[in-house]
């Protein structure tokens, strides 16, 4: 029988017969290799890829070290974070291991001292003067700058590794205690924000429609509140303290997570497996939390990691502008705020908290970026 398409004739194929095909593989030597390792799941693959990212691993190590110091650091000295030594205010750092190198050796330059008072051993105990500099005359009085061993000068037998503050409190203890408080505030607020954001975003994204529209407008209204104003209002009503800081971080902090989760739900809720589950009568709650949400975990974890340094920064910023914790509780922001007031005279009081907050911020950001790359499905296998 002859057929034609567009006027071109062709013959109909003859029906296939059993001997038309031969099962070659039965005796053939196939070149496909067998899987040598068991199949890798999403999170395991992400972990492997994260391990290859050196910057992220280094960041993780720093985070773990700082977190460990936040837990154990205050126990490493004999001082409590609020223990005062009124006679030993603003002592410079003294680290015995570094002292021979001239670093953190407990010395300090006292400016504008009367030259005729240098021989007064009550004022300058024997052996405390290391160097006399910059001789000059002011109003007929000979003045000098004196470099002294400040521990000997003050008669201090304590040893403050990172120095002491305006009440003679050990800055090592306060730094790690402050780091603990800052990390607690950051982690607590971020976890709470994620829980609120996930529930809010899931409901908005899954049900959509008018409910979504209303929920998202509420988000926009809340997001328009200036954070400093919110913090100030909380402090006015509840006073300064951890509660007010956390509440000011919670007011609008969950919105980013809610938006992200909502977008993920819009992406996945029309997929076949969701439709299949729904057709089979699975309840909404199970669809949301068992079928759709696990697909969003990657972005959520990444967002969390990036939100932690943001929360630390916000806490520090609020403390820096005086909306911080109740004295004598330290945080990194409180220490920075106190340190900047004496920055010119005692720069070490800002330096060490500055180093810790910088290390934490950079590390959390690098680790967050590493996680984002590791959990990005489009980069899987690269």
């Amino acid at each position: 029988m002859t057929n034609s398409i567009n006027g071109i004739p062709y013959e109909s194929p003859r029906p296939a017969r059993e001997d038309d095909f031969e099962l070659l593989q039965l005796g053939a030597d196939l070149k496909d290799a067998k899987f040598e390792s068991p199949p890798i799941g999403f999170f395991k693959d992400a972990t492997l890829r994260l391990a290859k990212n050196k910057a992220a691993v280094a960041a993780l190590v720093i985070i773990l070290v700082v977190s460990a110091m936040a837990v154990f650091g205050p126990m490493m000295t004999a001082y409590a974070f609020d223990q005062q030594f009124v006679d030993y205010q603003n002592m410079p750092p003294r680290i015995p291991l570094l002292a021979p190198l001239g670093i953190a050796d407990g010395s300090r330059v006292l400016e504008n001292r009367r030259a005729d008072g240098l021989s007064d051993t009550e004022k300058y105990p024997e052996g405390c003067i290391l160097k006399v500099m910059n001789r000059r005359t002011v109003n007929g009085v000979e003045m000098v700058d004196v470099k002294v061993d400040y521990y000997r000068y003050s008669g201090c037998e304590e040893n403050f590794l990172l120095g002491s503050d305006y009440l003679g409190r050990d800055l090592w203890t306060r730094l790690w205690r402050g780091t603990r408080v800052s990390l607690f505030i950051a982690v607590f607020s971020v976890v709470t924000n994620v829980i609120i954001g996930v529930i809010y975003g899931s409901v908005a994204g899954y049900y959509g429609g008018k409910l979504d529209m209303v929920l998202m407008r509420v988000c926009e209204i809340i997001q328009s509140f200036p954070r400093v104003v919110v913090a100030t209002l909380f402090i006015m009503f509840f006073g300064t303290g951890i509660f007010s800081i956390i509440m000011s971080l919670l007011i609008s902090g969950w919105i980013q997570t809610a938006r992200l989760v909502r977008a993920q739900f819009y992406r996945f809720k029309g997929r076949e497996y969701v439709l299949a589950a729904r057709t089979m009568g699975v309840r909404d709650r199970a669809i949301i939390f068992r079928h759709i949400l696990p697909n969003s975990l990657g972005p959520i974890i990444t967002t969390m990691m990036i939100a932690v340094p943001q929360a630390i920064f916000t806490e520090s910023f609020l403390a820096y502008i005086g909306l911080g914790l109740k004295a004598p509780e330290p945080s990194i922001g409180v220490l920075l705020s106190e340190g900047q007031k004496v920055l010119l005279n005692f720069p070490y009081q800002s330096l060490f908290p500055g180093i810790v907050i910088s290390a934490l911020m950079i590390s959390f950001n690098l680790f967050g970026n590493g996680l984002r790359d590791a959990m990005d499905p489009t980069l899987r296998g690269t």
Binding site: Q89, E111, R136, N139, G140, T240, G322, K326, A327, K341
Partner: protein, 596 residues
Amino acid sequence: MKKRLLSLTLATVMAVSLLAGCGGVGTAGGTTSQPSGGGQSSSHPAPSGGGELRLVFSEDIDTLNPHMERSSTDSEIILSVGGVLYRIAPSTNSAYEIVPEYAEGAPEMVDQEGLVWRIKVRDDAKYADGSPMTAGDFVYSLKMYYDPLLLNSPGTTLDEYGVYITNATPYMIQHAEGTEVAWEDVGVKLVDGNAFELTLDKPVNASQLELAFASCVMVPVREELYEAGMNSDRNETNYGSSWDKFASSGPFMVTGWTRDSEISMERNPNYPLQDGITLDRIVYKIVPESGTRLQLFESGQLDTVSLSEADLERYGEDPRILEVPSSAATCIGLNPINTKNPILQNQKFRQALFFGTNRKEAAKLGNSMPVDYYITDNYILDINTGLAFRDSEEGKSYVDSDNYSYDPEKAKELFRQALEETGAASASLEILYQDSSESRKKICEYLQSSWQELFGRDRLTVTLQAVPSQQLSERYRSHKDDPSAFESGVIASTYNDLDPASALMEWNMNATRKKIPYYDEEFTALYDQAVALPLEEVEARAGLIAQAEAKMLADAPFIPVTQSVSSVLIADRVTMPFTTYNSVLRYAWPWAQVNQ
């Protein structure tokens, strides 16, 4: 080409500015090598008279209108360019005198009870522009001062000094009270012979009246200018809002005021008391930033600058530093009527805190001195000799100059008894402090730690709360409506250094601006007796003031802790009239001298 030329010019300008800036800074370091001599040193060259004094404020004044002054900077300027009936003036070093400035002499008692007084104004009194000043100007000023529509609220009032003009307050608040009081019913009357009479509700003596007029900013306003600046509702005037809307009559006359930049004044040729004034001109610069102020001083553009504690660290033992103790004792005020924390009502609890305060240690936290009393040694008992109340026998009798009343064992026993009496197992205390004050924060943190350590952390919990100063004042004053508005807080009040009784003013039962709700009849009776005595009766006054203060200290509605000391750098070309600070005169700059 044009662009290149512009860039080159800009670069040159920037380089020159940078070099100029470096020059300034370089000088800053270099000026430490000053020629010998100085404001406070013995080798200071004799001032040649004349010249310009260059001072600085961190913020601009609000007004030159004496009825609206609110701050010590306002009053410093207004009292430099505005005349008063009686003026506190420097006499010899660390002593003062009250001199009649525009008054012809001391006030004359018209009746026998001290209720009606006549004050005559100098016949030759003139404003700086040469126009005559009469008793009518003072009467008009008082009328406007108490005007019911303007409702002025100046920083200091005659009432606070015990001068209650008949019907003045009812006249002022008549609209709020819904009453009608005519100005004619107020105890201020113009009388013949360029004089006016005051009728008072409570008797006063002449020196008390002089002191009140010298301490308040009772500068006459010029009627034409005042009325010209009045709005149609007569509830606002722009008098004193700029330098040309003010009639000068003080030792200096204002010649310029550029907001947030500079206030300048020149010597007033018509000022009646020219003796002792040598300066030609005073310029106040407004420089908010402390580092900039210090640089301006070091580059010779300012004659004085105050030092922060951090600056003081750097200036160490610089001979140009002048240490100036504050008039106010820094105290922890306790609310003895708090119902939510009833242990505060227990006198033994408050006394336990009093004896449990290690003031010597607290004083190490900043530039301050320990005090276990309220009236500091700035308060002068005898104006003529300069004798401070604290140096009098009566003033010294109940002061522990060795330990400043620190007795830990007594404190612990009192604390134990307080807990027993109230039936409480432990006590708590919240201390409020001004969030902008580092020194107060330090004191609070120290007391928190030391009190908890002394009485036991399980038996006393002290919490600290930083609050903005405005909110703090409101919390203190709201005790009238809510007795539990606060538990305790830092207080430090300054009154008239020339009257130690004035320091107790806030604590008497009839005080209108009370922070701490202390109402004690015995104390009030002693205070009333003390203020009723003439300033000349030194011993009798000292005895009454001492009894009143001792009574108050025993009741312990507050815990005195320290007296702060400010540090000021004075240029070596300046000779100050005296090296102390007075709450009214401040540094008495109009009487300073500069060596040109």
